[in-house]
Symmetry: C2
Subunit: 190 residues, 2 copies
Amino acid sequence: MRRAEPETRGEILAAATRRFAATGYRGTSLQDIATEVGCSKATVLYHFANKEALLTELMAPAITELQALDDALTGLTGRAAQQTAAEGFVDLAVRFRREIALIRGEFPELLRQPEFAHIQRISERLRDALAGNTDRAAAQVAALVLLAGISETCAEFVDVPDAELRPALLALARRALEPVPEHPTQDKET
Amino acid sequence: MRRAEPETRGEILAAATRRFAATGYRGTSLQDIATEVGCSKATVLYHFANKEALLTELMAPAITELQALDDALTGLTGRAAQQTAAEGFVDLAVRFRREIALIRGEFPELLRQPEFAHIQRISERLRDALAGNTDRAAAQVAALVLLAGISETCAEFVDVPDAELRPALLALARRALEPVPEHPTQDKET
DNA sequence: TATTCATCTGACCGATCGGTCAGGGTCTGA
DNA sequence: TCAGACCCTGACCGATCGGTCAGATGAATA
């Protein structure tokens, strides 16, 4: 059982990606990852401080770019913020589909941990921007539906090529974010 | 009849609802529920065969109505199916917001269990109906974004009154499902 | 009074979890 | 040749999980 190759670390990362995507973060044990790599659980914990360190390393690039998008949004309001947020988020979601799939369904729980508190704030600002910085319920609803729906859709369609997924999402986002006249009545119809 | 206090069962259900909604199904232990009720873990398991039985009982009404919606969709195609699916699903999602919140984020894992296999099929049919029974990527994307987004939004906005949430979601769904002119550059389906 | 029966419990079980630790190989540079 | 850094491991730990079980309690019934 000699494996004097330092590439073990990379293999662990790859295996963790596969297992997290298949059975979720909580649904994957360190032993699962070790078995897939063909090493011992202790080896996994030799290369990574703990289970969470594995996840944060896998998510790091996505988080960095998410913060960049957040920075790009500062100062923007109204339609400009809306458009930048929509295009930026669709782009991120499509490119980091795999990362989204990793934490699929565990986003709320993971956000509760203090390490990810700033991501919580970013997603709130993103939602506000998508809503055109309005408090109107309809706008907030549309923004949240888009954010959650796009994330889930990207995670589901991991195999669809970017060139197909991105324009479909962008077109949908534009339709969903069309400025709607504030008619308090016309809603009652079923 | 015999006993004047079979209300323990109801208390357990209520406590389970609260805990599942707060920390998720997997994130809630039987001991958590027992502690909240003020009884022993064994008492919880006296009233319910196992942890899953608790969840299925809590979800039963929602599942029943979901199946009814699925039945109502059989035979419908195109725009008719689309409209029925959209209105029906928005209505269900709004009314069963609490139930959605219970399994929030654990939907994919729970669906993997054989007991919920038929729900998997129902949600696939629902997605097809929302897509207007089309294979077009754009339509499938829009359908999935709506399904996932509406679910998450309802779970998030548990406190928003129905009268406010429902019309906002319906209006958004109509906008998102508007028939889009089939650009000459379509037809890149999987 | 004796019996039955639903309700409830503490003690316990095996499994699994994330994580620690002492130590054993292997390679490298002095 | 040897010291030490690096890589890896089995054994082990405490905690927690869902679940079982024999028995205590007490009210209704016969």
